[in-house]
Amino acid sequence: MAQSFSLKKGWRDVKTIAFLTLDTLFWSKKTLFVCLLSLIVLGLAVVGRVVLSLNLVPTALPSSQVFGTLMATSVIRFLVIFVTLFYGTALISEEVEGKTLTYLFMRPIAKPTIMLGKYLALTWIGAIMVLPTVFMSYMILYLRADMRPFFEDLGVLGRDIPIVLLALLAYGSFFALLGAWLKHSILIGLIYAFGWEGFVAVLPGFTRKLTITHYIQSIFPHGDTLSALSMLVGQRTETIESIVTLVLLTAFFILTASLVLREKEYVLEQ
C-alpha cells in the first residue's frame, strides 16, 4: 500500500495533535510557572510606572525607553526564552518520560505531522502566555491623563508584537529540535540561551550571526536602550535579511526536528 498523503488529511492530523498537545501543556504545572514569570514581568512594568509617576529619579527615562528596556531584557531575553525552552523541550521529551509517545506513534499519522502539530501548539501557547504580557506592560507604562505618548508609540507596539512572535517561533523551533533530539535538552538549551548567546554577544565580527538573538535584536525597534545592547545595535544585520534568516532558521529547525522524530528510536523505559 503506497503511503498516501493529502493536505486536507495532513492539516486535520496537525490540528488533532495540536489540540491534544495544547490540552496537556496548558493544564499543567508548567503553565502556573509561566504565568508567574509573566506576572513578574508585569510587576517590573508596575515598578517602572511607579518610578516614573513618583519622579523617584531626577533624570527619568521616558515611557518609551522604559518599555523598550522591558521588552529587550525581560520579554525577549527572559520570558520568550523561558516559555519556549520550557514548553519546546517538553513537546517530545515529556511524551517519552510519560511513556505516552507510543499512543501517537501507533496512529496512522506521519511523524513529521506529529512534530508540526506539537509545534503549532507550542506557538499558540507561547503567544497566549507572552503577548498579553506585552500588551499589559504597554498599558501599565503608558496609560495616564496625557494619552498622546500612548497613541504616538502604538506603532512601536505594533512592531514589537510581530517581533516577539517571530522570537517565539525561532526559539520555539530550536528548543523543539533539542527536545526531540537530546536527552538533557533543558540543560543544553540553557547553555545555548544564556551561555552561548550571552558570550557571543560581546564578540566582534561574524560570530554574533551564529545566534538567534542577533537577528531579533537587529529588527528591534527600540534604540540605544541599554549599554550592553549598544554593541549589538551598532552591528546590526539589515531588517529584511534578519527576518528572512529567522524564518529560514525556524523552518530549518522544525524540518530537522521532524526528521529526527522520524528516524530516531525512542526507547521508553519500562
Partner: protein, 279 residues
C-alpha cells in the same frame, strides 16, 4: 558439628557509627554521576578556563610577560567569577533531580525505613552537589594559586599574596553552598527534575534581568542585591580587596545570600518527609 548451618543469621559484627551514614548517599550519587559521559564532558569543559589561566600564568611568570597578564588577587577572583556560569550548569545537572526524582519515585519512604535520619539524607544529597561544584571552583582555584607560587622563582609572590588563599576558599565556599542549597530547594519543590532545573535557572537569570532593568530605571547599581550572581561577585570583590563593582553594601549582599540559603534549607526541610500528610 560436621554439617554447618548456612541459613540466614543476624549480623553480629560492628555497626558503623552514625556520623558517616550520609556519606553512603553522597558516594552513591557521585558514583552514578561519574558514570555519565555527558556530565564528565561538562566537567571537563568547565575546567577549560582553569587550563587557560595555567597557560596565562606560565606566559606571565615563566616567560616573563608580566605586562600581558598581571598575576595578583584580581587574577584569582576573576577566575572564580568566571566559573559562575559553569557552577550553575553543573549544579543543575548534578542537583536538579536529586530530591525531585526521589519524590517522583516515592523513594523517601525507602530511605527513611533505613537507619538514616532526615539530616543524613539531606547532607548526603548536598554533598553530591558540593563535591562537583568544588571540583570546578575551590580545587582549581587553589591549584592556580599553588601553581602561581611554584612558577615564581622566589618567595616574593607568597610574601605578597599568601593572604589570597583565604578569599579563594571563602569565595568558593559561598559560590558552592549558594548554588547547592538553592538547586536542592528547587529539587525539593518539584517531582520533576526538568521543572527543578528550569526553576533554578529562572531564579538565577531573573535576578540578573531584574537588576538590569532596575539599574536603568533608577540609574544606580545599588540595586544589585536583587541578583544572586551580582551578590556573589560583590562579595568576591570585597573578599579579594578589590573595588566593589556595585554600590550595594557588601553586608546587604551577604545578607541576601544568607536569606536565600536559609530559605532553601527551610524549603528542603519542610518538603523532605518520610510520610505525606494528607489533610
Amino acid at each position: 558439628m560436621p554439617i554447618h548451618d548456612l541459613s540466614y543469621s543476624h549480623w553480629t559484627g560492628e555497626w558503623t557509627s552514625h556520623p558517616y551514614r550520609w556519606w553512603v548517599i553522597t558516594r552513591q550519587g557521585i558514583t552514578m554521576l561519574a558514570k555519565k559521559r555527558g556530565f564528565l564532558v561538562l566537567l571537563f569543559l568547565s575546567l577549560i578556563p582553569f587550563l587557560v589561566r595555567c597557560v596565562m600564568l606560565y606566559v606571565a611568570v615563566v616567560m616573563g610577560r608580566i605586562t600581558l597578564v598581571k598575576v595578583d588577587a584580581k587574577f584569582f577572583e576573576a577566575f572564580l567569577s568566571q566559573q559562575l556560569f559553569a557552577t550553575f550548569i553543573i549544579s543543575i545537572f548534578a542537583g536538579a533531580g536529586l530530591i525531585a526524582n526521589d519524590l517522583k519515585a516515592n523513594a523517601l519512604q525507602i530511605y527513611f525505613s533505613k537507619a538514616i535520619t532526615r539530616r543524613d539524607y539531606l547532607i548526603g544529597k548536598l554533598g553530591i552537589v558540593v563535591f562537583f561544584v568544588t571540583l570546578s571552583t575551590l580545587i582549581p582555584g587553589l591549584l592556580l594559586f599553588f601553581l602561581a607560587a611554584a612558577f615564581h622563582s622566589s618567595l616574593e609572590f607568597l610574601q605578597e599574596y599568601s593572604w589570597v588563599m583565604l578569599p579563594i576558599i571563602g569565595y568558593s565556599l559561598i559560590i558552592i553552598f549558594t548554588n547547592a542549597l538553592i538547586v536542592l530547594a528547587m529539587s525539593a519543590l518539584n517531582r520533576s527534575a526538568r521543572f527543578a532545573g528550569i526553576f533554578f535557572a529562572a531564579v538565577v537569570f531573573f535576578g540578573q534581568i531584574l537588576y538590569s532593568i532596575l539599574a536603568v530605571l533608577l540609574r544606580t547599581t545599588s540595586v544589585s542585591w536583587v541578583s544572586i550572581s551580582h551578590n556573589l561577585t560583590q562579595l568576591g570583590d570585597v573578599l579579594f580587596r578589590s573595588d566593589p563593582g556595585y554600590k550595594t553594601s557588601p553586608w546587604i549582599s551577604a545578607l541576601v545570600l544568607l536569606i536565600w540559603m536559609l530559605g532553601s534549607v527551610w524549603i528542603i526541610h519542610s518538603r523532605v518527609r518520610a510520610v505525606e500528610v494528607v489533610k
